[in-house]
Assembly symmetry: C2
Homo-oligomer: 388 residues x 2
Amino acid sequence: MPLAAALRRVTAEPVRAPHPLPGFARSTVDGYAVRAADTYGASEGLPGYLTVTGAVRMGAAPDVTVTAGSAVSMPTGGAIPPGADAVVMIEYTAEAMPGTIEVVRPVAPGEGVVRADEDAAEGQQIIPNGCVLRPQDLAMLAAAGVTTVRVHARPVVTIFSTGDEVVPPDTQVLKPGQVRDATASALAALVADAGGEPVYGGIVSDDPGALERALRAALTASDVIVISAGSSVGTRDETANAVAALGPPGVWCHGLAIKPGKPTLLAECGAGPDGPAGTGVPVIGLPGNPRSALVVFRLIGMPLIRLVGGCAAPPPEPSTRATLSRDLASATGRLDVVQVKVSGGVATPLFGVSALLSVLTEADGYLMIPEEATGLDAGTEVEVTLYA
Amino acid sequence: MPLAAALRRVTAEPVRAPHPLPGFARSTVDGYAVRAADTYGASEGLPGYLTVTGAVRMGAAPDVTVTAGSAVSMPTGGAIPPGADAVVMIEYTAEAMPGTIEVVRPVAPGEGVVRADEDAAEGQQIIPNGCVLRPQDLAMLAAAGVTTVRVHARPVVTIFSTGDEVVPPDTQVLKPGQVRDATASALAALVADAGGEPVYGGIVSDDPGALERALRAALTASDVIVISAGSSVGTRDETANAVAALGPPGVWCHGLAIKPGKPTLLAECGAGPDGPAGTGVPVIGLPGNPRSALVVFRLIGMPLIRLVGGCAAPPPEPSTRATLSRDLASATGRLDVVQVKVSGGVATPLFGVSALLSVLTEADGYLMIPEEATGLDAGTEVEVTLYA
């Protein structure tokens, strides 16, 4: 991948410095390249005097050597001339007479200098494998002359919507009982955020055969399959049956101790008759309610896509600490995800049934009530994961 | 912008619901649509008996009315039939005999039901102006049938690199004193992260006339201009002169009380001879050291690009709290930005001169020592902004 297109891509191999970086000893200040020993003991009262024998130009090799008693004028970033081991800042010098400076502070060897291999030694790893490339990583690669980088392909994530009531978002007039497919657009965005390549599989009716055929057709071209699977008991069962029919390893679990999101299906399919676990295509059956589906997909789907995409460690998520505005009840043995608004350090829970999208759009983020808790008291300091 | 391409784009107008959402009263559970009054007093010991007069199918208008003493079978998400004002969960019912159910818990009116306008009333604002669109916002727009959305154009940000020592990143063999342009790639990435459209202006030599000509040529096609401006006193002055020559309003400030990043230039140019402030093109002259440049650009450049791009409130940044591992000194009257590694809740500062990129690539994030502080003590709890 060319560097200009590599932001947030995941490296598929470690990158090493092809040569030392920056590659030559550089000045970190405007001043004079000197032998440090020539400045020992220098002070305002008893300056040292040095003869200026030349000047270093930016981008050019020094054409002068620093010898005992001499100094060479240096711009910040210029190459340290042979013989010099330090740079005196211009602020600690003055022109005593044309061609001679006085130095009023001593410098130690190495002061004012970046070593030729201080950013990286030759062969040193500058970017690890499985790294999600950040802006500064691109800077380091550019500095090293690495302008193309091997990255993992984006996992192809096929997104299906199911339900006889679900119609495409561009349906202008709804018939009674119909709803537009809200989940697929948001899932595609979350897939992209996790580094995946979303592919719309379309809307499949509540016909077990139709779903199985659609899933089977998508299996070979997908790295992950996501189904927003209908929330009624009947459609949940049909989804599970269609997924199971795709073959081993099969369904891992059907139902999670999480609210919202309980009717979540996790499976792995299409590994072949003797395919071991881990060789098939992960399938996630999400609850039919858009809000439940998006909550579960953030917690389970996005980390899965990052893993499939070669990412060694998930990038940090925005979060903030806040004080809970009111008591929150919760059943033990279940993880509760609660949307909140955050203002002035106070987190105010938003309530509403799982079907309501407005709870998600009004929220700044969410907090989690752990499985073992029976709730949280008003005034508790909570960690809110913010929706970016 | 079509919805599928609108993630993270900034809305240019508020979006209102064209009709009530979800548009019809829906069941939130599998169960039976009833008149709530028919269930009052029902208990395990004394169930209520109701006659099942039909079933609602997903995506279809109910073809039956609920009357006193009757119930209609409901899937989750189905349309509530006329006459019903609540849905009893299937768990609180049992088939007493074919065509008759017993109800063992009372329901209140509205229970098990989402109102037709509970997600949004007709004309209600569902997405504000100046909003950076998040995945759930796309879901809400899709639910409302809004499949194209007016968004602000991405601000065009032209990025110049200056310096006789700077060569393109694809230069395989460096001559003595040369360095590859590391900053431009990272700046382009930060511009994209802030919602801008980066354009490479190229590398301009340390010739005042050349920089002025290049800036002037970019002025009309740019919403913001960024220059990584050389770190030596001479090149800093040349940059300031070239920017000033572009005309009023002119240079706002040259030098910031921040470390690293002191030699930062902020200007506004090309508003015309009588152009008032605010009508020209913002110009940011960054320090020549890549690390200083990237630190300053995060703090000043990215918020500026968001503002120019119409964003009403910046999206949240990832951050974490950590305990500082060691004392950090700082001069008062200056904001210090210190890169840190974070592990196990401990923030360990990384040191190195401004020229070192490896400090940025090794860092997990940064902390800031405020202007008024003389430093931070080991053990202080600090807020670390994480590099995503």
